[in-house]
Each structure stands twice: as C-alpha cells, then as structure tokens.
Symmetry: C2
Subunit: 399 residues, 2 copies
Amino acid sequence: MAKGKTNISVPGFLANGISCGIKKGDEKDLGLIYSTVPAKVAAVFTKNTFKAAPLLINEERVKKGMAQAIITNSGCANAATGREGHRDALIVSGALAKELNIKEELILLGSTGVIGKRLPAKKIEGGIGKLVKGLNEAGIEDAEKAMMTTDKYPKIAIRRGVVGAKDVTICGIAKGAGMIEPNMATLLTYVMTDAFIDAKALNTVFHQAINATFNSISVDGCMSTNDMAIILANGMAGNNPLEKVQARLQRFRDMLTDVLMELCQAVVQDGEGATKFITIAVNGAKSKSDARMAAYSIANSNLVKTAFFGEDPNWGRIIAALGASGINVEKEKISLSIGDLPIFSQNAPLNFDSGKLQAIFLQNRIEVKVDLGAGDKSYTVYTSDLSHDYVKINAEYST
Amino acid sequence: MAKGKTNISVPGFLANGISCGIKKGDEKDLGLIYSTVPAKVAAVFTKNTFKAAPLLINEERVKKGMAQAIITNSGCANAATGREGHRDALIVSGALAKELNIKEELILLGSTGVIGKRLPAKKIEGGIGKLVKGLNEAGIEDAEKAMMTTDKYPKIAIRRGVVGAKDVTICGIAKGAGMIEPNMATLLTYVMTDAFIDAKALNTVFHQAINATFNSISVDGCMSTNDMAIILANGMAGNNPLEKVQARLQRFRDMLTDVLMELCQAVVQDGEGATKFITIAVNGAKSKSDARMAAYSIANSNLVKTAFFGEDPNWGRIIAALGASGINVEKEKISLSIGDLPIFSQNAPLNFDSGKLQAIFLQNRIEVKVDLGAGDKSYTVYTSDLSHDYVKINAEYST
C-alpha cells in the first residue's frame, strides 16, 4: 500500500524495526516510532473486557495528552497475563525511557501475537539499545514490518498537503489481518503527523476519522484484546494552529480520513485468507444503528462469506442474513442489488440475468447494496470472504 | 443416532420418503409424516424476517391446534420467493390434501435447500401419489432421509415409557447441519407422539423442551429462513390425559427433552465439517441473559472454532471472545477451565500443565467452563469447530 518505497517520512519523526528474538529466525519483531519533540496524542482502544497490559498503561498515559514514542512488539500479545504482564510491560517502558532519555509517561506500548503468554521482557530489553541506535527518518517501513503477524504485506499510507498555510504530512501504518471488527477494528494503527493542532481538536477529528473508517470493517467478527489506534502530532510543520470548527481543521480531518480509509481497506484486503473485497452498503434505514446491524449481519455471516469465496451466486444467503439481523423492517420494502444488478424487491426475486450475477461473483471487488425502504440513514461495512486459508492460518496460529 | 434400525415407529403414525426429481439422481427429496387421526400440534418457527413460504402457511394453520400431515422437500427452501413461492406451496398442500382425502388446513409444509429459487411444485405434485401410496409404519427413516441436505447421517431419537398409566412413544427426527443457531436452531425437527395431551400443555412443554435443547446450540451463528420444530400428538396411547402441572406431564416433558437433546447434539456433531463437539458452560452469571451472551460469544468466535479444529491450545482466544461479549463483568472474578484443567483466574493465567491442555484439545468432546463470579445464573451452549470442510461445503453449496 506504500505509495512508492521512497519518501515515507514525516518531519520530526524517527523510526526503526529490528529482530530481538521473540519470533523465530531474524524476523523483525520490535518496532519504535519516536518524535524528536513531545507530541499531542489521541487514541482509541478496544472495548474488550480483557484489554492487554500495554493498553491499560496507555489509557492512563494518553489522558495527559502528550506522548513521544510508541514501542511495539509482535509475537506476543501480553494479554490475559495478569499482574506479571503489567510488570513486564513496565520493564519495557522503563528501559526505553532510559535509553531515549525521556519521561516514561511519554512512552506508549503496543503488543500483538498470542494471547495468554508472558511477554519476553528480557529479550525486548536486550534489543532496546540497538532499536534506539538505529532510529532514522526513513525507518517507518521497518517499524511497520516489526508489528506484522499474519499480514501478507505492509500497510502504509501517506498524504501531504497544505493545511493552515504550511505543508503538512500525515502518515499511517497498520497491522491486522484476523480479528478485524469494530470497537475498535482489532488491529494496531499508528498515525504520525507534523501538524500543529490543539489537543481537543485532535481527539475529536481522530475519533471521527476512526469511526468513518476502521469502525466500519469486519473480517471475522472477533474483537481483540489488543486493538488500538494512536495518533501523534508533533507540530513541527508550524502551520496556523488547528482548532475547533475551522476550514483548515476540516481539511486536516479529510486528509486523515483518507489515510485511515486506505489503511483499513488494505487491512480488509489482506484479511486472513481473503480473496475478495466486499462492500456492504445499507441505505434507507430508519436509524444508523439499524443500518449498521443489517450491514454487519450480512458481513459477519459465514454462509455469505463462504458463498463469496466459492464464487457461488447464492444471493438467498444475503437475504437470510439480513432477515436474521434482528432489526424491525418491512420485508416488502427491502431491495437488494449485487454489483449493479437488482436481485430482490417487494419480497420476491426479480427477473435478473443469472449469467450476469455469476460474472459479478467472479470479480475481486463486489458491492452488495441493500435498501431498507424505511428512512434515510445508511451504513457501509467493508469485509472479506471466508476461505480455506482463513481456517488454515487460524488452526495453526499458536503452535 | 437411531437406536437400532428396527422398531422406529409410533402408534398411529405412517411415513414415507421418496425421490421426486428435485435432487439429481435418485436421492430422496420428498418426505411425509402422517397421523391416521388428526393430532394436536405445537410448533416453533424461525424469527428470521424472511420466513419461507411454507412456514408462513404453517403459522396460520397451527393456530387451530390440530394437524395430521407434514410434507417436506429438500433441494429447495422456497424462501425469498414472494407470492409465487406462496402459490407453489399451496399447490403442494392442495394436491396432498386431495390424495390423503383430509382437510387442507391439517397439512403442514417444510422445505430446505437453496434460498431464492422457485419450488419445483409440479415435480412434487407428480410424486405425491407414490409418496402417499408408500406410507407405512416403518417409514420414518425414509421420511428423515428425504429431508437431509448436507447432513452426513440421519438423526432419529426415540423414547418409550409409561406416562399416565400407558406406554407412550416419542420419536423425533431432525435435519440440519449448517445454519445452526437459536431462534430457532436453523433446522427441521419433527416429533411424533401417541400421547394423549391437552393442546395448551403440549404447547407449553414443547417450547420448554426446545428452549432447553435446540435453542442452546450453534454451528455457525446463522439463523435460517426455514427453521422450525413441530410436534404432533395423536392421543392413540389412550393414557390418562396430560394437562397442566401434573407429575405425568413432567414425565412427558422429560422424555421429550431427552429426545430433543439427543437430536440437537447429533445436529452439532454433524455440523458442517465438524470434527469436535464443544460444550460451553457459563456459570456464576448475574442473569441468564448474561450467561447466554457470554456462552454464544465464545461459541460463535471463528478464532475459537478454528483453534479447536487445529487442536491448538490457544486458550487466550476464549478469554478474548469472552471479553468481547459486551456483558458487564469484573474480570478479576472470572475463571476459565478447559476439560478439568483450571486455566485462568483472578485476571491471570494459572500454572497449568500445558501438556495436559494439549491432550484435552486432542479429544473429540471438549468442555469449556467459565465462571463469571457474579451470581448464580448459568447457560450452556453446544457447538462445533470450524474446519476446512465447513468452507468447502458452503463455498460449493448452490452450484
């Protein structure tokens, strides 16, 4: 997803990714993002009851509104690890603060991998010297690689544009293949920007942009213990300050949304074993919540997902999944299209060309459009199919 | 599941199953259950918005409390077929009423197969003569076979016992492999009994028994358009009448629950591609609804299901799924055991023997026990794993 290999950098940010021995071989498993000055921070965390230790620490730290570094390991989630897991995370954070010579409370932590295993804190500690020494302006790609688990390719998106009379850069990296579902979309997403922005405004636009992007995707309906999205804004662009309700704040939000949309679509496309990118657009709902429930009922149906994988134009499963959503709808008013082909309306199938439908199912990107005929609210969800490889990947993950 | 091939019969009931040409080859695709006298009836239907045409007809007919025949085809669900589907179902019902020489309103209809395709009513009509001619006391197994779709083996359970001073028989048959989820458990279940029972009492105990059995299973979290359970009680046992709040009604309910439990466990065991039978028992909940949500959150997690299939003792996924259930719990009070092995308690993993856990994951029947530490309510869900074959079966279903 990187727009060319060159030029993935953000003024004032250094990064690096190394192997510290958590994973086998010399696969990168430890990444660092570092702003040369303390940055404004905003974050979104999973709503899972068993939030991983690093997230619990971050939740406290981001309350103060400032951060300077994010260190992330793959190969171990440090979730469901109790007090020991908490202590392990603090060992990492303490060692990094010392090495970077910054306040420990400016350090944020991320972990991804197997749940319930102790974090190899000593291995991480042992790697921190090398990690910090190697920090460089072009290190974002290495930091991204270090947090990949079952991802097939790295996910980096970058936008540059004039905001508040200066050139501003927004660069995001994301990790996540399985366990993709909103609240938040079971993955790690870090965004770096040099924009100069008010802390409150940053928090507002980041939540808005996440809701419009990562909270609208689903791969397997599972919400992880480790999902989070963090944005650091170090202000080095020196733009006119971005505050509430300004055209330039709007411009910044649009750029940010654009970055996050590219990343979240890349996450779906790289969904574990995914072979299709499926858009479920529900319109005509009485409420946004109805539209959302209907869209997710379709997106999370294993029967729908396997039909897409099998390129089997079994559209009735979409109707069945919609009917199982639990929302109150009048079935006579519902209509369904797949691609541009109207399939079902007034509670009966239409006379569509089944050859055309088959052709649509053979495509890699498929759009399912549902109109509930009940109002003007809508919701769109992006999802993937369910393939043999999803089962293969997930049956063999921890062993 | 049949307890021996012989003796699967219920006094006063005849049955048959034939091939009428809906499916390829000479696979049975049309089944009939017939009581020689009108029987009391009770039924439970799917809550899917897009209930199939036969179910909409049945809903009206069972209101009168009496029925005499159930005709069922496989190979076509007659769901999402609009007014034409309704007319198709009535063609079948009319033809059967004529052939059996009974009132049409005593006939119930079942269909299973692909959603959204027109019912081949002419083919069914053409088979009805042969179907009725072949009715016989030992025909229940043939009727059951005629409604199988992706089922690997037939599901029949029978119990005989003294109820109200007479020998009473309860025999149930079930179809269902995919789309297994409560409300109701996406399948067809027909129960025949010669008990003499009050219509209201029959309705009450049938709902109770279904809730305790079929509404506690899940294969893939999908609720179909065609699920229903029907019981016919023709009274031919001549027992003392079963009415409200009697020991003998209780005895009848226990026998009925027993029959349904055997069937619903068989359905899970034969879940599409299933290799494991998994019991998720949640105890110590503040409310039954909490216990239920927690149990289903685990049972429906694709990550949990694939770990069981892979015999990968990745217990952290169970904790993650529990944490994603949305119920309000104190994580410090939650404990998890798998088999008899305590795994997690007081928000931390216990020092368990990982070899023992691996050995448990190798078993075919696995019990997951969660205690929420919040009250005395509980809920148990039966489910299966998610295998390559689930994907294979469902990717190639309609084509």
